[in-house]
């Protein structure tokens, strides 16, 4: 019997996601570009420029700094002999169950930022789809990878 999954992903995820969010969040500042050009060339009112700058800053902070915490809080998973159970989603809650005997392969991967924080993402593929548990600490990720492969092997032998 599986109740709602309880295991959390690594807390370092917040810092890692924040780093990514703040870095890539610089792209938000492309929003004010057009108003600024319009202000310089076409005498568009200054308040449009100010408003767009405020929007960009707000998005940068909210998406880059606040979202990672909420996202971390809302990510839970559980691996049992039956399957991999994942619960996530900030506004829409999504729960996904991948039955063990349908799993085709498991792998872990890390980008430069994840590597810096000692994190890995675990991805689980079936014949139809691929699912990912983001930001586990390296050790847990490789333990889980081994565990799932082992479970898959047992399930195969059972049949």
């Amino acid at each position: 019997m599986i109740d709602s999954p309880e295991k959390r992903i690594d807390k370092n995820a917040i810092t890692a996601w924040r780093t990514t969010g703040i870095l890539f969040g610089l792209l938000w500042y492309s929003i004010p570009v057009i108003p600024i050009i319009a202000h310089i060339n076409k005498d568009a009112p200054i308040w449009i420029v100010i408003l767009s700058v405020i929007v960009a800053i707000t998005l940068h902070i909210v998406v880059g700094y606040v979202f990672p915490v909420v996202r971390w809080k809302r990510w839970k998973y559980e691996v049992t002999e039956k399957g991999v159970d994942m619960l996530h989603g900030i506004i829409i809650r999504k729960r996904t169950m991948v039955p063990v005997n349908r799993i085709q392969h498991v792998d872990t991967k890390q980008g430069p930022i994840y590597r810096k924080f000692g994190l890995s993402a675990l991805s689980i593929s079936t014949a139809a789809t691929t699912h990912e548990i983001p930001a586990l600490d390296d050790e847990t990720a490789s333990e889980l990878r081994t565990l799932i492969s082992e479970l898959v092997r047992q399930a195969r032998e059972d049949v």
Binding site: R93, P99, R102, A127
Partner: protein
Amino acid sequence: MSEFKRQHPVAAITSLLGMLRQNIVPIAIFLVVGSRNTGEYFWYFFMFGILSTLVLGIFGWLLFTYRVVGDELQINKGILIRKKLYLTKDRIQVIDITEGILQRMFGLVKVEVKSAGSGTESATISAITREEAEELRSVLRGESNSSTQSIDIEHDFEVETIAKAPSQVWHLPGKDLLLAALTSGNFGVIASILGAVSGQLEEFINVENIEYITRNIPGLDNTSVYFALFLFIFIVSYILSFIGVILKYSDFKIEKNDKELTITSGLLERKHITVPFNRIQAVRFVEGVLRQPFGFGMLYAESAGYEKQNQEKSIVLLPFVKKEYLEEFFFEFLNEYTEPETDVTPPKKALFKYLRRPNYMVLILVSVLWIFWEHGWILYSLVVPFSLLGWIRFKDAELGYTDSVIKLQYRVLAKTTAILRRNRTQVAEMSINPFQKRKDLASVKLTAASGAGGRVFEIYDLEYDDALSVFKWPVEKEEVDEPAN
């Protein structure tokens, strides 16, 4: 079959023909419009295109060799990038044998061997003799290693099927074929025509042309010209879709042998599809809007064969059949599938959500249109038919399961009834948005493997507990109270 060999030389022109056929609409428009505008340069360009495809085809043929070693099909191909494609028997999902018009003239067939999963490629041998194709099929199916097989099948497929004595055969009656063609309503054709034409549309539909028409034909205004144009495209695409169905499903036949289903159909182009039972991932019965009133629909099987270009990933098991026949069909042809009683439906409190759901798009679209058209608000009356659609969707949504199979019924526009087997269900998902949370509702989604990816079956707004038990169905046997069939 141990040395590498080439296909029949006809293969060299099949790629040219295939290219021409796939792009027939753009080419036709190109010919009409292009020739008028650019004069003879256009013809040089066109001929260059044809010639280069032909030359590539010849090189492709020269460099394409294949052989069978044991139960493995090995193909070497590629002009610039050489590719070695090795497919073993146990990886193969579906084998298609097609007799195209060109192939027929030379007594040849095309063989497509499809394996599972993305990243792999289907192996297509465009032109080999029928005997070779049959031999290839029986080797790759592992049906027999004896040479008697190849003697048997020298003449026709008919002979071969009699020799193997299929246990069940189903034919599509001629009357049903006609009805199927009349009710197919394949409006995808409209979209593709419109898409192809839209680039050239301005050539024909411009203010001068419309003014010219309205001036010369009295009693016509702008709106009626547009309306007539729409009607014209509508009728043309209806006729095309009618002809399409007739060509595709003429003389449709499905046969059951001990390990597989064999489907044969087509008028000009005969297609033979072989699907082993254990490769069928799910079945789905679709009752089109025009067909449902007559109680008819189409039965598809999902298989994990990989097809790159073809949108149609599912295999048609029964092109036109009464819903009542399904139970018998499953019993005789696919006894792993049964139809469980459907006893779970969305609760009454979900009705309002069903009514609302199709309307979100209307409200957004109309609000945008209103900006461009001052009477745009009139379109808000669309809320009535869309709410009606929501209500029908609510009525149609239901599901039920046994130990081994689950049946999900829902409607988008056409009503779909999907049956999945427990150990073929790849993923189960459940989602709750804030509105659903307030009412203790949840949507549920099951995925079966199909083509290179998956096909998703989703039912919205079930009671949370019902959704949870569907969610857990693929992994938990204890939860099921009904006995296994």
